[in-house]
């Protein structure tokens, strides 16, 4: 019996209560705290802003970065350098702020381009993020009098604000950034980040340009970190190379892990508390305090992997994504016009080799809209490889692939998806930490851009995708997390996701594996209707010959990387070749009878 965990949710009342407490603390701070504490809190607020950006990158998008301190340092030095060398004026302040944003953005764009190119490993991106603060610090150290080298810049004129005013400004900025990040994270677009963290391959096969999203996100967070740095530099009147260093970058990671990665509130509150505690305790026990922090980090990682703050806030419903179940609505799909000469897909001379080993050799294959081609053949014949070559331009060794009239050349999977392709993988390939409804929404990404501020209350899917989830009972499980679905349900979910793209060509690699015979029959009806009614072109790899017989309009047999024969089911099933290489004695006996 599957039971749903009662989820605590952030109610409007709780949210308002938290808002009032936060606003209350910001407004009343100067009357409650002494000036030493105010000073510490203002700095902590600026650090907390950077911590939020790191949490968005690491906690939500899965990009472990030590480099946000570099952007913070750039912002701080923009203030320090401009105010030292130009003097302080309204104009120079605007110039410094613009520089803080522009330099951070440019550097982030460059770093993003280096870190997230197609095929780069997450490890590589993290190493680059480690190099960035080290290089920045070296540049600052070698700047001589201009950057103040190791002693940094001090004593420059800056904004003439009282401590109270700084507290209010920094507090308000932190609240704005926190609120903005929270809105984006819980919006539909925010789930794109979680999708990227879960499964980049699936993202690109849904037409999401993952490197681009990551670069844009890095640039945006870098600008925020740069502005926070500008605030810090303007407030403190001192900038030092440590502000851009990787020690701060690492401390940010520690603060976030302690506070609770991937919750926004945890890192925000954690950063403030740790900074305040550090200010009081590091003077009384300078060495032991760092040791305590380090130990706490280890203990929290081992015992409380979700951090310290979320368990404290759970009763109030914070730190958990809201799980409103959307209502399903039908998205109208345009019926494809009858094939006007151009086949849905056309492969000519497609070859794929690993070194001297040829997996595919001179494959020529065409299919039109409304055809459902069954691809059969022994295990290892190259069926999945053929599908890969059709959906990723960089994969084949030679030959030409045309999808709906577009030559795919060396194009990426997301381009192929835009040409009208949908691909269902052999193993269930879904977003494990997202709910069923969220997975399906991500699948409609190219048809309907998810909103950056809102959560939609409806989920629009093409009729055939709705059929798949109805048949497999997923419509009653829209709020379940995909990880907790059975293998067969994950397969069905992935099939529904691929169909949610409203593709014109569907590649299906054993779409019914793990489903019961009765479910297979029903999915079979859905697949038939894709070709007959909606005029999609389907290429289906399947080992259940009865299933293929029922729905396929044409059968293609692959053997050792070549197309061995094609024809109707009867022709193929009767051939000696298929009997000997593939079907085994039972089938042969059946045919004989």
């Amino acid at each position: 019996m599957i039971s749903r965990r009662p989820r605590c949710r952030l109610t409007v009342r709780n949210a308002l209560a938290f808002g009032f407490v936060a606003v209350g603390l910001i407004v009343a701070g100067p009357w409650v705290f002494d000036s030493y504490l105010l000073n510490i809190l203002i700095k902590a607020f600026f650090f907390a802003i950077v911590a939020i950006t790191v949490d968005v990158l690491w906690g939500y998008t899965g990009y472990l970065t030590f480099g946000q301190s570099a952007f913070f340092g750039m912002g701080a030095y923009a203030a320090g350098l401009v105010f030292t060398h130009q003097g302080f004026s309204a104009g120079s302040a605007a110039l410094a702020l613009a520089l803080a944003a522009a330099v951070s953005a440019t550097t982030a764009g460059l770093v993003g381009w280096l870190s997230f190119y197609r095929g780069a490993s997450p490890f590589f991106a993290t190493v680059i993020s480690l190099v960035l603060p080290i290089v920045s610090t070296q540049l600052l150290l070698s700047g001589g009098d201009w950057t103040g080298s190791s002693s940094g810049l001090t004593g420059y004129a800056t904004f003439d604000l009282s401590l109270e005013a700084w507290y209010w400004v920094s507090g308000a900025l932190l609240m704005c950034i926190g609120l903005l990040a929270w809105m984006v994270i819980r919006s539909d677009a925010g789930r794109v980040l979680a999708s990227i963290r879960d499964n980049e391959e699936r993202c690109s096969y849904l037409g999401i340009n993952v490197p681009f999203v990551k670069i844009v996100l890095l640039v945006a967070t870098a600008v925020v970190a740069g502005i926070a740095g500008f605030g810090y530099g303007s407030f403190s009147g001192v900038v030092a190379p440590e502000l851009a260093g990787f020690v701060l970058g690492t401390e940010l990671i520690v603060w976030i892990a302690l506070g609770g990665r991937g919750t926004l509130w945890g890192p925000l509150i954690g950063t403030i508390l740790i900074n305040v505690a550090t200010a009081y305790l590091s003077s009384s026990m300078p060495f032991v305090w760092q040791l305590i922090l380090g130990l706490a980090f280890v203990v929290v990682i081992v015992l409380l992997p979700k951090g310290l703050i979320p368990p404290l806030l759970r009763p109030f419903g914070l730190g958990r994504p809201a799980t409103d179940t959307p209502t399903l609505v039908e998205r109208s799909v345009r019926l494809m016009p009858a094939a006007a000469g151009e086949p849905a897909f056309a492969l000519s001379g497609v070859t794929k080799s690993f070194g001297s080993f040829k997996v595919l050799e001179g494959i020529n294959l065409e299919a039109s809209a409304g055809e459902l081609v069954g691809l059969i053949g022994p295990n290892g014949a190259g069926k999945t490889t053929l599908m890969r070559c059709m959906s990723d331009g960089a994969d084949r060794t030679s030959g030409q692939v045309r999808l709906c009239g577009h030559d795919i050349q060396q194009n990426s999977p997301e381009d192929c998806v835009r040409f009208g392709l949908g691909r269902k993988f052999q193993n269930a390939n879904v977003f494990e930490s997202l709910t069923v409804a969220e997975c399906l929404r991500m699948a409609g990404y190219i048809l309907e851009r998810p909103s950056i501020v809102r959560r939609a209350s409806t989920l629009a899917l093409p009729p055939y995708a709705i059929d798949v989830i109805r048949v497999t009972g997923l419509d009653g499980k829209l709020d379940l997390v995909a990880r907790d679905l059975s293998h067969g349900q994950q397969q069905a979910l992935e099939l529904a996701m691929v169909l949610a793209l409203a593709p014109r060509i569907v590649l299906l690699d054993e779409p019914t594996a793990g489903l019961t015979k009765a479910e297979r029959t029903q999915i079979g009806h859905v697949l038939s209707s894709l070709a007959n009614r909606y005029k999609l072109c389907c290429l289906l790899v399947e080992h259940d010959l009865d299933f293929v017989e029922e729905i396929a309009t044409r059968i293609v047999v692959m053997h050792q990387g070549k197309i061995a024969m094609q024809g109707t089911f009867k022709e193929v099933a009767e051939s000696e070749l298929v009997k000997t290489i593939y079907a085994g004695s039972a089938r042969a006996a059946l045919e004989a009878a």
């Binding site: 965990r5 048949v471 593939y582 079907a583 004695s585």
Partner: protein, 235 residues
Amino acid sequence: MSTCALQLSSVTTGYASSVVLRGTSLTVARGESVALLGKNGMGKSTLLKTIMGYLPKKAGTIHLHGADITRMQPHRISRMGVAYAAQEHAIFTDLSIRDNLRLGLVKNATFDERFAEIEPIFPLFKTRLKQQAGTLSGGEQKMLLVARALMMRPCVVLLDEITEGLQPSVIERIADALLWERQTHGTTMMLIEQNVPFALKVADRYLVLKQGEIVDQGESKVSSAMVSIFNHLKV
């Protein structure tokens, strides 16, 4: 020595967001082969994962040949002679086929002898022992999984949808191999299957699971078995 190979008493278990098995009890005799059938999401894979020690038990006990394995770690259970062919992500893609097979063995020296046993079932591995396992096709990886489980010469083998994605002739060979394995070594088997004819051929007894509970069971070789099972599998 107990005549029961496996004994589950009132086992309750599940995942973070759901309870899947509620007080499930079942017994598998030594040398018996039992098929677990049922629709998706009914707790079949969860049952095998629970036996293997991958999921924390909320209540109940599990005994293997009379020994309590309820709180045992998966590697200890494996060393007691339980082989498990999981549904997915269960081979080491960066290792060679040979190394994948070798990992199922307690002693390396027995490799040649054991490999000779499974080689007729999976002839494709003979010439490709050095090939990286990740470069095998999906179906071939599945065969590797079954081969590794059999190489262990286990006393209990747990097989989770091993026929998925395999060509019909290979499925036939696997069925023969499992029957041979039982005859020669008296191996106890539990298998999850969507391929009902295969399951009935290999198993003595079948169980149908529905929402974590056993709703039907019977001998697999009686003629009414198929009808009874399909009634439960209807959508």
